[in-house]
Assembly symmetry: D2
Homo-oligomer: 404 residues x 4
């Protein structure tokens, strides 16, 4: 009998899957026959860490159409290509308090309220590089493949059906076009949109895609940088405020994982700097979100304290030891130092400094130094140097270097 | 010439104040004469860390009426007293995409969309303990004083003016009442509401109030627990999705600090587990938010990387050293360990464990152990013990103990 | 066995009552217990001609609360007292496409959309002469009594209940007040409004009230002038576009009788210059209109061709005979002459006039001469006189006199 | 010097034209260049009586594109071809309180609110016979030519421009299509719609078209029956409630002529049973109605008392003489007898009849007998006959015959 130390993580997934299975009810999307054929009992979940490890359970390999789960990723591509300013000239960033297929065009600006509803996603698609639907879709596909770390196929039957039943989406596109916020023809934008919705992914794929955002835009499995850190942050912010349609506010209260669902049964969720999650279960709740996906993510958040805004408890002091026997006295710093940690270090050392005591800050135990902390420490060193105070630093990992 | 190591933090504040001063335009609220008399050039900012240190600059002591900045804190009190379920029976959690004084009652449920708009805040006030307006207000005042850590006065002239010009708010209250979502009479709820809006605070006060939420509900200056961790988290979540009225989505993209503004010129913002900020500058922008307050917070977020969703860079490994010369071999862990860190530790040690190598995990360098990490480590220890594997832990701070 | 020549009219009423009885379904208003006690089988109808004759059948004497049937009559009083310009500064004239209790305040102007919805009727009440609710209500009551031609009592139990359950109406009043369109305090306007809604009337009363509008503002039974012709016309116009809530457009297509319904079961309808109708039957349809009242009025309109816009068939010529044997030749005019009749007379006589033939227009057979016809004839006489043509008129009833 | 007895009518037109010229302001439609080129000073007016006489002045022959003035006439054609029930399955009859290009789809039914807004008119066009846009347009063109009494050309440049700039209309069509209320493809409906809007008409043409509705569906100039009386009545009713966009209610109060305007500068108005009016003046007011057209129609209505709901004054008695010297005594009736006149005759004769006096009703002086009056008289004759009373009628024009 051998041990498997990864079992606790698998156990975590198994627990949430079990939680999901308990949930009855919800209906598989049926506006096109292809979706109606989905297996209502299929259920999978995968988690991908920002270091690239994947844990998964259930039907995590089953392919389904990505549908609206594509929206944040295509938004990220549009942001990467056109920039935040240009994108927000065409589409807003505000939750609309309305359902996914709401008309939701801002009367004053003609912009769809946000890129997570259909109208906004069609506009986002129109901003993607390429003149034809084929060109735009090729760019989108390559981009989503980079997020997923593998090649993705299109479900042609679903695409054809969406194309046939897509009158409401065409209406939204024409409204945007007439308001001057669609950056291509209606046919180009909607075809690119319908096709991206029909891309086939698994729960594992969307876990990796979400983990790519969690890792600041770099795919943690392939190592490829897909979008910039700023784009990953903006995209995650949009998911946090608009990702779960007209239940987004309650979602942030109860679950606290920026997320995006699709009528194909998938949900992508992430905890920045930690992991991405993909869930798959076709039956949808009243808001059009995967009912079991929602339940599993809520269980995961609650049982493992994974809420974005979770208070992490009283931290240990960022100064692990203060060796006053030495000269200079040595302040051993530890852990992840962001603004508040750096602020505490400087505040605590200030009294000693005022007494003229020579101090060395030892960064060896620091795991991560945030930009605010770096800036504050560098300012402090300059300040000390200017005033002739003996403040030094031991920084074996070069954490204070500009480049980091 | 002596050094002051806190200067870098003051420098940070000075920089953002300077950024704020650059901004021209905006109008002081004028719907009541008392507000119109505010000094448009007044400008203050304060920052309070979750460890209770306060840094401040400019007119950070000037008192002004708290107005809508009270909303998240009164919501927190209502959540503490009535619970999330009861509160959400009366008021929603969804952004409405509409201005602060919008009618915004959900047609189906009769609930105001969220507690950050007037209609919702009046409902929140009606849920506070107490039968009369005086009783409810006394509870609110004590609560807000606990958040601020000092006694707060009411500006009677402002209160009287609000009372006189409050017809729209009365209309919102009657609508809620007729929909069955107001938990008191209209007069009781609106008077308690008008009075709380007229409480006098300074930028420093709201920094401490926000810091109390950032610290999980415990006032970091006085040490008093004001609300539970869950309540602090829920309240912060509502601020993140609804705090900046119909600009909340863009705010989370561009600034990323859960925040709440008031027409008195104040803005409260926070970064969970790190700090609260209070700004004060009376001129308001088109959305009714303090124009310079917004500018200062945006500058602070951008220049110091304080965005909630900021990618903090590639982390160092949570295993600082792996001492394979010893038996058991020692894995020295470091920094803040949350889900993803624990997950990496277990994944990396798994190969050794499979080979039957005895392992000690040394938690001495760990600054904080999140609930998910604790759960995963405890599960791993149980698992190892059950399968006869020699996995031990050195946990001098008792981080793995249930109580933590 | 004696004849009763009025039987055909009674027969007409009996036919529509029978039509009404056939209709099943609808629910008696139940938002206050007093209304819920109404007899669902009660059914009455009365018709009052502009000459003051009343025909009636069924429960035409049964009293019930007037409720919203009061709205056009109180509007008429407000128009009489304050004038059209002042009234429209406070309330619009546009149908809202929304239910009776909709908020329906025009965002730009703060005016309720129209005086036939609650918000508008409360504003109308605020415009009535009088400082207190008692004074305003006294004016309203006297006015409605003048319309009905008898004293009207208040159902105190209904009034008290409305007062208690009137939070939504108070909300509408506060909204109007905050927008500056309510001309009194909220309490004064809503109490005057609730009290007028509780006035007790019968189907016969509302027939006479409607007939007063049909007769141009003069009560055809008592002979009292209640409002001016212009006010009667404006009021009828508002009933035609907004009287049946969000079914007003279809009503004008299918029935074509300007009308107003109330939740007490009454409907007032009229055909200008002909008659007023009152119906009473408590069960309401989905729009809140008396289901059987609607059915009876529709039957009456369809079977007797009483649609306001009914084409009345090819008219006989307004020239009954043209006696060319006499000199001047005599053109005997007949019937009701309005613009088009006068226009035809002049056009037909023009050929003769051009030939220099002397002409006498004999008005003895003319039953009514509209203002346009009078103007055209007077202009023609002046024109003929000026050009030396021999055009004379025999006008025994003095129809061409200015005063008529 | 000769007389022209038609001068008073020309004078009337000249007066209103003068009134129109006084009005400054308004802007020629400019959303397509072709409309922007219209002469802002062009001004014409024509009036066509239900007997086919036309009076006109100013630029009454100038051609312009019919635009939305086509809407009631295409609605009439759809009603004639598909029936009221089928038409109302696809489009509502309710004013929306919103501008002409509002989205205004009823959420519950997916129907555009009414056929006078673009969305509704596109749906109406889809209901016209024909499979292709060309077929449908041919039917529409033939129909509008029948209304106008002459052949009408298309302004191809305007059509092409509308086609190019018609994205918002396409959006409305796709929304209707996705809601299942569009009866053809989007391209077919919108092309038929754009083409009908580009038909060239003069003020005289639309006067004749409106007169055709006023005459109950028969073109009074050509004598051709274009639509049935019921269809003419329904169409006029829709014009009365929805014809002037979001100013329709005020229009019925102030002017009282069912009307429809178009951005080409035309307005069609009518007074049922009397006349149709066409005005032409390109500058538009804020609601998109021809500013001078509106002013002229308001002046015409006010100065000539042409309001649909105008009280026509106390009528003479419908019994001109009661010759009691003869046996049977003779009651000479006169004028137009509708419900209320017949009701008065029977009520007044009843006393005599009860006394057993033989009575002859002489209809020679009656100009028109409405369906209600005919029914009441026939019922009275049957009643008298059954009870052995001697009631006879002299009816030289056969007014009581079923066919009339």
């Amino acid at each position: 009998m051998t041990v498997d130390l990864r079992d606790p993580i698998r156990l975590a997934l198994a627990r949430v899957v079990e939680e999901g299975r308990k949930l009855e009810g919800g209906d598989v999307a049926s506006y096109i026959p292809e979706l109606a054929r989905a297996d209502p009992d299929a259920l999978g979940v995968a988690i991908a860490s920002v270091r690239g490890t994947i844990h998964e359970t259930g039907d995590s390999d089953t392919e389904f159409t990505i549908q609206s789960v594509s929206k944040p990723f295509v938004l990220a591509l549009a942001l990467e290509q056109a920039g935040l300013t240009e994108v927000t000239r065409h589409v807003g960033l505000e939750p609309s308090g309305e359902p996914f297929n709401a008309i939701s065009l801002d009367e004053a600006t003609g912009r769809p309220f946000n890129p997570m509803i259909n109208a906004g996603a069609i506009v986002t698609s129109s901003l993607i590089d390429g003149d034809s639907a084929a060109e735009k879709f090729a760019v989108i596909r390559r981009g989503l493949e980079a997020f997923a770390g593998r090649q993705l196929d299109v479900d042609d039957a679903v695409f054809e059906s969406e194309l046939e039943s897509g009158d409401r989406n065409r209406a939204l596109a024409y409204l945007a076009r007439s308001a001057g916020t669609l950056a291509s023809s209606v046919d180009v934008a909607t075809e690119a949109y319908f096709r991206q919705c029909a891309l086939l992914v698994s729960a594992r794929d969307i876990a990796v895609m979400a983990a790519t955002l969690a890792a600041g835009g770099r795919n943690p499995v392939t190592g490829e940088r897909v979008v910039s850190e700023a784009v990953a942050r903006w995209t995650t912010a949009v998911m946090s405020s608009c990702g779960m349609y007209d239940a987004s506010g309650a979602w942030m209260v109860r679950v606290g994982l920026p997320a995006k669902s699709g009528v194909g049964g998938g949900v992508a969720a992430l905890l920045p700097d930690q992991f991405g999650i993909g869930t798959f279960s076709p039956p949808l709740d009243a808001q059009g979100n995967s009912a079991r996906g929602v339940a599993m993510l809520e269980a995961l958040s609650n049982e493992y304290g994974l809420h974005l805004l979770m208070h992490r408890g009283e931290p240990l002091s960022p100064i692990s030891t203060l060796d006053t026997d030495r000269d200079p006295i040595v302040a051993r710093l530890r852990g992840e130092l962001v603004f508040s940690g750096a602020e505490e270090v400087l505040t605590r050392l200030d009294t000693l400094a005022r007494d003229g005591v020579a101090i060395e800050m030892d960064l060896e135990g620091v795991t991560r130094l945030g930009p605010a902390a770096r800036l504050l420490f560098r300012d402090a060193l300059k300040e000390a140097s200017a005033s002739g105070h003996d403040l030094t630093v031991n920084d074996p990992d070069g954490l204070l270097d500009e480049a980091n």
